[in-house]
Symmetry: C2
């Protein structure tokens, strides 16, 4: 079957691999130039944290070893207090499971190599989709407008601002929403210090400051990529190098010391937006073409649970499963794939909720105590009790099932608490 995938980002490339393995002819169109030749866009990426869902999706194609070769494991969070105090919180009860820092550009280049190595995959760069009409796709290219042949199946993996979704949104009955946070983000960087990492590379670093937050993820070249999250108007207020330096010296003193290029980075790098997008349904047959969506095109989420790419990769596994169940009947498979909405809705919400946790609560004693109790329960009841973070990051339990399990656990713990209280009351009574 001939399948067109729009977008050769992370999810588009991985989907092309999955589809090619099933024997389909895949044509992959990408708006930008080949990043392996042109060099990646800089100054606006948040480093990715690949965790179990993403690794599982790569592993099923035998790509995990190669793709993750240079990723740096982060088994926990390192909190930076204003006074310079560091505190480490392991992500897992045994302290060994880790999420993995990797740059988006690096990951994209490896996945492009993987897709091009598959039989039946053709990639066209510099093709910006401008329309889908009567089964024909039109593109703007550096050489002028180009049209495709009749296209039976088009899958949009073209990100939060998807051109494929724009076509779908014009159809009556297609619900859609875009919802921005008042917060934006800016990339900053911490260079290597005397040839070594400026901070512990075995952690995701967080500077929780209530109204703002900064994070830093390690890179193989011993630098860190930092991301500052802050309300848009706050970014604008720091309009001179002096103001930038003064603000960071006051609120992020240990980071400011490690950022000699801070004021330049701050002035040069744009403020990115944080948006949640929802679309329902994700597929529709329009004339001779069935259109579907995966990844951010279907469900863009904010980055605060580190699940955007992982969720998109898991989409590929799930769509592959839907193709299995329908004998590669794409309209039927894409209809079946709508069941994944239950999961993507959950992670969209968790990602929004986690922003509050990361920017504020991770620094509080109550929160830290809660985490310790949680990890103690996990150790005492292995396999019976697991934290939400562990289930999201270190399992492939569907997101919606994670939420059901967390609800069951809470009822169970509350019940056990009541039981203990009853036993104590009984003991006291007998003691009378």
């Amino acid at each position: 079957m001939e399948v067109t995938v729009v977008g050769a980002g992370l999810v588009g490339c991985l989907l092309a691999c999955y589809l090619a393995r099933r024997g389909h002819e895949v044509t992959l169109y990408e708006r930008r130039a080949d990043p392996r030749e042109a060099g990646a866009e800089r100054g606006r990426s948040i480093n990715l944290a690949i965790s179990e869902r993403g690794i599982d999706a790569l592993r099923r194609l035998g790509l995990d070893g190669e793709v993750l070769a240079e990723a740096l494991p982060m088994p926990g969070r390192m909190m930076h207090a204003i006074d310079g105090t560091l505190s480490f919180q392991p992500y897992s009860a045994d302290g060994r499971r880790a999420i993995n820092s990797i740059s988006r550009g690096e990951l994209n280049r490896k996945l492009l190599d993987a897709a091009e190595a598959m039989p039946g995959v053709r990639v066209h760069f510099g093709h910006r989709l401008t329309g889908i009409d009567d089964g024909v796709l039109t593109f703007d290219t550096p050489q002028g407008p180009v049209t495709s042949g009749k296209t039976p199946v088009v899958i949009g993996a073209d990100g939060a601002y998807s051109a494929v979704r724009a076509k779908l949104q014009t159809q009556p009955g297609v619900d859609f929403s875009q919802s921005y946070l008042d917060y934006g983000y800016k990339e900053l960087s911490v260079p290597a210090r005397y040839g070594d990492f400026a901070f512990d590379p075995g952690a995701l670093h967080i500077w929780p400051r209530g109204r703002s937050m900064m994070i830093a993820l390690p890179n193989p070249d011993r630098t860190f990529t930092c991301t500052l999250f802050w309300p848009h108007e706050a970014f604008d207020a720091l309009d001179t190098p002096e103001k930038v330096r003064r603000h960071f010296a006051e609120h992020y003193p240990d980071a400011a010391e490690a950022m000699p290029g801070l004021a330049d980075d701050y002035a040069a790098n744009p403020v990115g937006n944080l948006v949640t997008m929802r679309c329902s349904p994700w597929h529709r047959t329009i004339g001779p073409t069935t259109i579907g969506l995966v990844g951010d095109a279907a469900h863009a989420i904010v980055p605060f649970y580190g699940q955007g790419a992982n969720c998109g990769f898991e989409d590929c596994v799930e769509l592959d499963r839907c193709l299995d169940e329908t004998g590669d009947d794409f309209p039927a498979a894409l209809a079946l794939f709508e069941r994944r909405t239950a999961d993507t809705e959950v992670i969209a919400r968790l990602a929004l909720d986690n922003f509050v946790e990361m920017r504020d609560k991770v620094g509080s004693r109550t929160f830290l105590a809660g985490k310790r109790v949680e990890h103690a329960l996990e150790r005492v009841l292995p396999g019976r009790y697991a934290s939400r973070y562990e289930l999201v990051s270190f399992s492939t339990t569907p997101y919606s099932e994670v939420e059901r399990r967390i609800a069951r656990q809470r009822r169970w713990v509350a019940g056990a608490g009541l039981g203990v209280a009853a036993l104590v009351a009984l003991a006291l009574r007998r003691g009378k």
Copy 2:
């Protein structure tokens, strides 16, 4: 000041009148041909019920008499039971206040006349907006593409599928949602019977059937325009004239008898969609141009409270007020106009809620008894107690204030109820 209004529908025309009265030069662009020459689109309109908010907006320009000359007052609802039983519910406590049936096409033609009669208003028909870039508007016209001069202010009054809003939606930080009901609607018609109205013209007729609903509004030519609301898949299932006739004979026997052209109408008229659209903010300055939205372009709502056009007309009054308060500074006035979101959010929700009431509850005894109690309270406590329907339809109290007042009244009635109970308890105790 030069102001561009996109869309010469009901709200665009009325807004042009308001702006021209303030002394602005208004250019009005309309996608369609002049409806006064071309004849209105037929077969997909729901008749409008103009009530106090709409009348007030017309009255402030002295247009109410002329525009509403041919409107037919409907002082209540006439319920049609399956067995043919009719029951009339007045809309107001005194039974005299009425909403007014008028065809959208008729109203549009009169408002176009009114706009063109104002000094400083120019109207261009056959201009479909295709882009807003660097202050220049581009249009497709029957004569080919056309561009405007530099345009400082563009106000989108171009309906639920607004091209102006499409531009706004591409801006980071602009939240948007479109949400469809599973229900669609189809226009049907009841001709005059022996030269007279087939039903009482002094009512909005409703056939509440639970899963479906039909309404009929009278026209000056003694016909009724009917609208059937039904789930999309139900419409599709009636795919032969015989099935159509059988269904109507079973569920709408008295209406079916009055519709000799039913099967033809049913086959010829399309099924319309019912959508709620939200956008926030409604305005943004992009380069040299400040863009704003009014009416359905800003807040398309479902038709079940009869408030779509009334709310859009009231937008014009409110924007006029904002221009007063800001000395005709359009960017400032459009920023101030955002306060109206509190009101449009309320009517969007009430319109959705009213669908359930109209299709189901209006037929129930509890509902009818509740209405009678409400009207009794209104008569006993004139000016102190008013029903939500009266406040929405027969006042210009802002929608959000209506909701606050209803909440206060409910607390008061509940309190009075408790007070009565306490007095009774006291009396019983003393009686012992």
